[in-house]
């Protein structure tokens, strides 16, 4: 047998990471099922009558579908990559990988590729549910905008996930940090709560500095019945690219393959994540 080509190795490692994802049901639940449950609950709670929001007068489902789709993509990339990489580092798996001829970037590409693929699934499930069950707007002409926004957004949050795994010393702190960042960010980024047209100014400023709001608004634009085709918000995508660069620099600076000596050595599988 001879060595596989590099693209074949990348594919192989994406497949391996996918298998690992599906074999830990708790991760699959938080990433895929929980946002769907939230959509169903929110629509049940708020009804589906049109109301004012930052993106015009729309139904709650029209608001929540893109918002929660973006949130589940963030969870599939940022949260999962941060937790998986730091867990595997803590378990010494990354160290083992470093001792093989596999180029490190191929392993990373496997982790990112798998997370992005899970993100695609999460997104399709969420949008599909919104469109089929709640009459959410979807236009073929705006599909390229959706796809582009997804690619830029998921790469951004994947890179930030690697950066977080670099900053966190242990798997449990990576898990805590991931949740402690993405959840408050979701509250001020028009994800869980429709902030309406006039949120307090400091919240607006904070939300504008962080990436999630831009991802959400760009994706909502691509699904909006009022936006003009092609519905690509380049400035929002530009902010996401900036954050991708920040994540890449941070990852380069802080990411290590060896376990951190003295960091928490044991993490229970179920204790890895306490919430989304």
């Amino acid at each position: 047998m001879t060595r596989r080509s590099t693209p074949a190795l990348v594919l192989l490692h994406i497949r391996a990471q996918n298998r690992l994802f599906w074999r830990v049901p708790i991760g699959a639940f938080f990433t895929l099922a929980l946002p769907v449950i939230m959509l169903v609950l929110f629509v049940a709670l708020f009804g589906n009558e049109p109301e004012g929001s930052v993106v015009g007068t729309i139904t709650p489902a029209q608001f929540y579908t893109p918002a929660l789709a973006v949130f589940s993509v963030g969870s599939a990339t940022y949260t999962n990559i941060a937790i998986n990489l730091s867990t595997r580092r803590e378990e010494g798996i990354l160290r083992r990988v470093r001792g093989t001829p596999l180029p490190p970037w191929v392993y990373m590409a496997g982790a990112v590729g798998s997370a992005v693929w899970i993100g695609v699934i999460a997104l399709v499930v969420m949008v599909g549910l919104g469109v089929i069950a709640y009459d959410v707007n979807l236009e073929v002409a705006k599909l390229p905008a959706m796809a582009l926004t997804f690619v830029v957004g998921s790469m951004c949050f994947a890179m930030l996930g690697i950066a977080l795994a670099g900053v966190a010393k242990s798997a449990s702190s990576a898990s805590a940090l991931a949740n402690a960042t993405i959840l408050p960010m979701a509250f001020i980024s028009n994800i869980f709560i429709n902030l309406g047209t006039n949120p307090p100014e400091w919240l607006q400023v904070l939300g504008d500095l962080l990436p999630l709001r831009h991802f959400g608004l760009a994706f909502a634009e691509a699904m909006s019945p009022f936006s003009e085709t092609p519905a690509i918000l380049w400035d929002r995508l530009g902010v996401l690219l900036l954050w991708t660069a920040v994540g890449a620099l941070l990852a380069r600076w802080r990411f290590r393959w060896d376990p951190v000596p003295g960091a928490n050595g044991r993490t229970t599988r179920r204790g890895r994540r306490t919430t989304a």
Binding site: M1, A8, A16, L20, G92, R96, T100, P101
Partner: protein, 303 residues
């Protein structure tokens, strides 16, 4: 024969402590080289520097003619590593793990052959997380061999094996040797080093305290004699007692131990000295040493 590994003046410090304190050795191609030593002696540190997992603080290291700290892909393609402890993806099966990790090597042993080799046939499709500790260690071993390496590092490969598995893994290592592979292994077990190694280096507190073939270690120490006694309080220097001795002197508190190959003359000197100083030597003992004793003395007695 060509040299596979060349180490000169290797030092590794962690803050103030010197985990490896200036060691030198070389390993020939096709040789089995064992590093023996107690916990914390610096075995793993040394081996992991050779593997490229850690960078040395000082000294020169050449492995297969390459500096392992900048070895890269082609270097790691030629070596096999069994770390003292490294995780395996628990949710993958034994077969999957071997396939995934094996794919990166330019030449590799077939998965089925490896599974056979480490006797995990019945567990091949079970998830690694469900295997016992010793069975997981065998997966480690198989992963170290998956790239059909010419140089293999085994850091305590048999720790956690039952006696039968240990014997059979010895056969496996002997078999690898007969295929011309170079092997560097660390162990706590004297019998393992004796059984497997062409050459043994005994490491203690970061230094090599003895080196040679198991037979030469045995003949230079194993046939020796240990003279030991409690030294009473004496005024002045002990050099007239200790300097003329042919054996190696070790002291702990007031207990003096002399490891000697000429016990008769050394004993005569000691007793003459004691009589001349009108001293009684407490608990005077003369005993022949075996290799285990030598080892325990070399490494400070607390393995």
């Amino acid at each position: 024969m060509a040299t596979a590994i060349e180490v000169r003046g290797l030092v590794k410090t962690y803050g103030e402590s010197r985990a490896v304190d200036g060691i030198s050795f070389s390993v020939e191609e096709g040789e089995v080289f064992a590093i023996l030593g107690p916990n914390g002696a610096g075995k793993s540190t040394t081996v992991e520097i050779l593997e490229g997992h850690r960078d040395p603080t000082d000294g020169e290291v050449s492995v297969l003619g390459i500096d392992p700290s900048r070895g890269g892909r082609s270097f790691r393609d030629r070596i096999g590593i069994v770390l003292q402890s490294a995780g395996i993806d628990r949710e993958l099966s034994v077969r999957e793990v071997l396939d995934f990790y094996g794919a990166a090597y330019s030449s590799r042993r077939p998965t089925d052959e490896l599974i056979e080799l480490v006797e995990l046939g019945e567990k091949a499709d079970d998830r690694v997380g469900t295997l016992s500790g010793g069975q997981q260690r065998r997966v480690d071993l198989a992963l170290g061999l998956v790239g059909d390496p010419e140089l293999i590092f085994l850091d305590e490969p048999t720790t956690g094996f039952d006696p039968g598995a240990r014997r059979r893994s010895w056969d496996l290592i002997t078999n690898l040797r007969s295929l011309g592979r170079t092997i560097v292994l660390t162990t706590h077990y004297l019998d393992e080093a004796e059984h497997l190694a062409d050459r043994v280096a005994v490491l203690s507190e970061g230094r090599i305290v003895a080196e040679g073939s198991p037979a030469s270690l045995r003949s230079s120490f194993g046939s020796g004699t240990t003279i030991s006694f409690d030294l009473p309080a004496v005024d002045g220097s002990l050099s007239d007692l200790l300097d003329p001795l042919t054996g190696e002197v070790r002291g702990r508190d007031r207990r003096i131990e002399i490891l000697t190959s000429s016990p008769t003359s050394d004993l005569a000197h000691i007793t003459t000295w004691a009589v001349a100083h009108d001293l009684e030597l407490g608990s005077l003992q003369v005993a022949s040493t075996d290799l285990e004793d030598v080892y325990l003395q070399l490494v400070g007695g607390d393995t």
